[in-house]
C-alpha cells in the first residue's frame, strides 16, 4: 500500500529544571493512505506528543525535537521552514483535540473560525467561503447549519462542538486527520455518534486517520492498525484483528485483561501492579520490567528492541526471541 506518513526514530525531549523528559523516545511508525492508525497508551506515554511533533506544535522551550524524520508525502516535515509547515497545517494535515471547548476560540463565531481556515488555504472570497462552511457543517450532521454558523462555541453542546471541530478540520480536504482523544470528554451515546461520523467521513474522503486514545473499545471499533506505547516507546504494533486475538507484550495483555467488558463476566479484574514509571527516573533495561509479571534477568539490563514476530506483528519484549545486541 501507498505510504502517506513515515515517522523514523522520532525523539522529542523536554528540558525542565528537574531534568530531561524523553517524552517520545525513538518512535517509528507509518500510516498508509486511507488507513486508520490508532495509538493506545496511558497518560504520559507520549502519544499526544508524537502527534504534536508531526505538526511541529511542540512548545520550544522547554520541548525540542532532538532527532528523527517525519516524512509526509515524500517531504521531511522537520526540515521545512515555519512558513512551509503553516501551509500544511490545517490544510493537508489537520487535527482535532480532546476538549472541544478549550480548542475553539470563545470570542469568534463557529462560522468565523471555519471561514478563516478556508480563506487561509484556498483562494476563495468570503461569500464562497461562507457557503463552503455551511456545507461543511451540514456534512458533519449539524442541523440548522445556516444559523449555527453564527453561533458562539458556548452556545453549543459538547457533541455539537466536537462536530464543529471536525467540520473545521475536514473543510480543506486533508489527507491526514489527527484526532487526539476526540471522544474522551463526551458521553457514550454522543461518542457513538462522533465515531460513526468519523468512519463515514473516512469512507467518503479516503482521509487517513491517526486516532489517539486510551480506550481499547474505541480502538477495536475504529482501527485498522494499532500501535501501543509505554513511557515514550512503541512496545507493540500489529493489525487490529491480530493484536486483539494474539497480544504479545505483557503490557498490552495487561491492558486488555484489566478492562471490564460489557459482554463478558469476570470474577475479578486483572490489574497491572504498580504504576507508570517516573519519567525522570526510568528503570534501566525494559521500562516495563518493574510492573511485569514475566520479567527475566535480561529485562533489568537490556532494553528490548522492536522486532517482527510474524504476520506483520512487531513487539519489543525479550520473551519473544533473544535480543543480544546491546
Amino acid at each position: 500500500m501507498d505510504e502517506l506518513l513515515i515517522i523514523k526514530n522520532l525523539k522529542t525531549y523536554f528540558y525542565t529544571d528537574e531534568g530531561v523528559v524523553k517524552a517520545v523516545d525513538d518512535v517509528s511508525l507509518r500510516i498508509n493512505r486511507g488507513q486508520t492508525l490508532c495509538i493506545v497508551g496511558e497518560s504520559g506515554c507520549g502519544k499526544s506528543i508524537t502527534a504534536m511533533s508531526i505538526l511541529r506544535l511542540i512548545p520550544d522551550p522547554p520541548g525540542k525535537i532532538e532527532g528523527g524524520e517525519i516524512i509526509f508525502e515524500g517531504k521531511d516535515l522537520l526540515k521545512l521552514s515555519d512558513d512551509e509547515v503553516r501551509e500544511i497545517r490545517g490544510n493537508k494535515i489537520s487535527m482535532i483535540f480532546q476538549e472541544p471547548m478549550t480548542s475553539l476560540n470563545p470570542v469568534f463565531t463557529i462560522g468565523n473560525q471555519i471561514i478563516e481556515a478556508i480563506m487561509l488555504h484556498q483562494k476563495l472570497d468570503k461569500k464562497e467561503a461562507t457557503k463552503k462552511s455551511v456545507e461543511a457543517l451540514k456534512l458533519v450532521g449539524i442541523p440548522r447549519a445556516e444559523e449555527i454558523i453564527n453561533a458562539y462555541p458556548h452556545e453549543l453542546s459538547g457533541g455539537m462542538r466536537q462536530r464543529a471541530m471536525i467540520a473545521m478540520a475536514m473543510v480543506c480536504n486533508p489527507t491526514l486527520l489527527i484526532a487526539d482523544e476526540p471522544t474522551t470528554a463526551l458521553d457514550v451515546t454522543i461518542q457513538a455518534q462522533i465515531l460513526d461520523l468519523m468512519r463515514k467521513l473516512k469512507e467518503e474522503t479516503k482521509t487517513s486517520i491517526m486516532l489517539i486514545t486510551h480506550d481499547l473499545g474505541v480502538v477495536a471499533e475504529m482501527a485498522e492498525y494499532v500501535t501501543v506505547m509505554y513511557a515514550g516507546k512503541v512496545v507493540e504494533e500489529a493489525d487490529v484483528i491480530e493484536l486483539f486475538k494474539n497480544p504479545k507484550h505483557p503490557y498490552t495483555l495487561g491492558l486488555l485483561e484489566s478492562k471490564p467488558q460489557i459482554h463478558i463476566d469476570k470474577e475479578k479484574l486483572y490489574s497491572i501492579p504498580g504504576q507508570v514509571p517516573n519519567p525522570f527516573n526510568l528503570p534501566k533495561g525494559c521500562y516495563f520490567f518493574p510492573r511485569c509479571e514475566r520479567a527475566m534477568e535480561i529485562c533489568k539490563e537490556v532494553m528490548p528492541t522492536l522486532k517482527e514476530v510474524g504476520n506483520g506483528h512487531k513487539v519489543a519484549c525479550h520473551l519473544y526471541g533473544g535480543d543480544n545486541n546491546e
Binding site: E42, S43, S157, G159, M160, D187, V188, T189, I190, Q191, A192, Q193, L195, D196, H214, D215, L216, G217, V218, V219, A220, E221, A223, V240, I241, F244, K245, G254, L255, L256, S258, K259, P260, Q261, I262, H263, K266, K268, L269, Y270, S271, I272, P273, Q275, V276
Partner: protein
C-alpha cells in the same frame, strides 16, 4: 444481604434559575425529579446515565450535602431530613463519599495523616495519641504504605490519591458509601486496581455502595443492581444480569449498544441516538426521552409513563414496557 439500609422515596431536587436585577426565580433545573429506590446491606447499586442526568446530585442529596426539594431519605430507619444538626453529625460517620477527581478533593496543605485522621478526631473515634496507629491501619488496608503518612497529596499519582480518598472515607467505619465516579479520572491499568480494592473492601466489611458512573462496563463489573437515569429520573432499574441481558427501555438499549467493545471481530447492531440531551430546565412534556426515542408513539408526547415493577423486581418507566 436482605436488610434494607437506605430507602429513597420520590426524591426531588430543583435548582432555581434566577434572572434580572432582583434575581427573581424564573424557572427550575429539575436535577433530580422523582427518584425512588432501595439499597440493601452489602449491596452495590450502580447508577448510570450521561452527564447532567442528575446522578451525582442524587448521591449528594441522599447524604444531605445539598438539601432536597421534596421526598424522603430513610437511612437505617431514620429520616435523614428530619434529624437535627447534632443528630445528623452523629450519623455522618456511617455515610461517606468518595469523589471523582482525586486532584481537587484532597486539601493540598494537609498531610495524608491529617486528611485521613481529621474526621477520626472530629468524631471522637481517636485521640491525638491513638490517631496515628488508626490512620496507618486504614492506609495499609487501602494498599498504601504507612510511611506515606507525613507526605502531601501532590507527591502521589492519581491512583494513589484515589486510595487516600478511599482511606478517608473508610476511616470512620461507614456502612454506606457513595462512590461518585471514583475511577473515571484514572488510567485503565490503575482503574482495575481501584475497582478490585472497592470489591475486596466490600466483601470484608459488608459495605453498601451507591456506585455512580457513566462507564457501563465498570458498573456492570461492580454492581449487583443497576439503575439508569435520564434527565433526572430513573427510567429503568433491575438486577445486573437482567438489565444487561434483557433491557426494556429504549434508552437503556441505546446506551448499552453505544459502549465500544474491545473486540474488533464482533459485529453489532448499534442504535445511534439522534440529537443531544434536552436541557433539564425545560424537559420535554410526556416521556422525557420521546425527543430521541426511535420507538416513540403518540402517547409518549403527552403522558409521562409510570415507573413500575414489571415483575422480577425489574422497574421500567416506558409506555412500551416489554411489549
Amino acid at each position: 444481604m436482605n436488610e434494607v439500609i437506605l430507602s429513597v422515596k420520590n426524591l426531588k431536587k430543583y435548582f432555581p434559575i434566577r434572572s434580572g436585577v432582583f434575581q427573581k426565580v424564573v424557572g427550575h433545573v429539575k436535577a433530580v425529579d422523582d427518584v425512588s429506590f432501595e439499597l440493601r446491606k452489602g449491596e452495590t447499586l450502580g447508577l448510570v446515565g450521561e452527564s447532567g442526568c442528575g446522578k451525582s446530585t442524587t448521591g449528594r442529596t441522599i447524604l444531605r450535602l445539598i438539601e432536597k426539594t421534596e421526598g424522603e431519605v430513610m437511612f437505617e430507619g431514620k429520616d435523614v431530613y428530619k434529624l437535627s444538626r447534632e443528630e445528623l453529625r452523629k450519623l455522618r460517620p456511617n455515610m461517606q463519599i468518595i469523589f471523582q477527581d482525586p486532584y481537587s478533593s484532597l486539601n493540598p496543605r494537609m498531610t495524608v495523616g491529617e486528611i485521613v485522621g481529621e474526621a477520626l478526631i472530629e468524631h471522637g473515634m481517636a485521640n491525638k495519641n491513638t490517631v496515628k496507629a488508626k490512620v496507618e491501619e486504614v492506609l495499609e488496608m487501602c494498599g498504601l504504605s504507612s510511611y506515606y503518612i507525613k507526605r502531601y497529596p501532590h507527591e502521589f499519582s492519581g491512583g494513589q490519591r484515589q486510595r487516600i480518598g478511599i482511606a478517608r472515607a473508610l476511616a470512620l467505619n461507614p456502612k454506606f458509601i457513595v462512590c461518585d465516579e471514583p475511577v473515571s479520572a484514572l488510567d485503565v491499568s490503575i482503574q482495575s486496581q481501584i475497582v478490585n480494592l472497592l470489591c475486596e473492601l466490600q466483601q470484608k466489611f459488608n459495605f453498601s455502595y451507591l456506585f455512580i458512573s457513566h462507564d457501563l462496563s465498570v458498573v456492570k463489573h461492580i454492581s449487583h443492581r443497576v439503575g439508569v437515569m435520564y434527565l433526572g429520573s430513573l427510567v429503568e432499574l433491575a438486577d445486573k444480569k437482567e438489565i444487561f441481558k434483557n433491557p426494556i427501555h429504549p434508552y437503556t438499549k441505546a446506551l448499552l449498544s453505544a459502549v465500544p467493545i474491545p473486540d474488533p471481530t464482533l459485529k453489532r447492531e448499534r442504535i445511534i441516538l439522534e440529537g443531544d440531551i434536552p436541557s433539564p430546565a425545560n424537559p420535554p412534556k410526556g416521556c422525557k426521552f420521546h425527543t430521541r426515542c426511535p420507538y416513540k408513539m403518540d402517547i409518549c408526547k403527552e403522558v409521562t409513563p409510570e415507573y413500575k415493577d414489571i415483575g422480577n423486581n425489574h422497574f421500567v418507566a416506558c409506555h412500551l414496557d416489554g411489549r
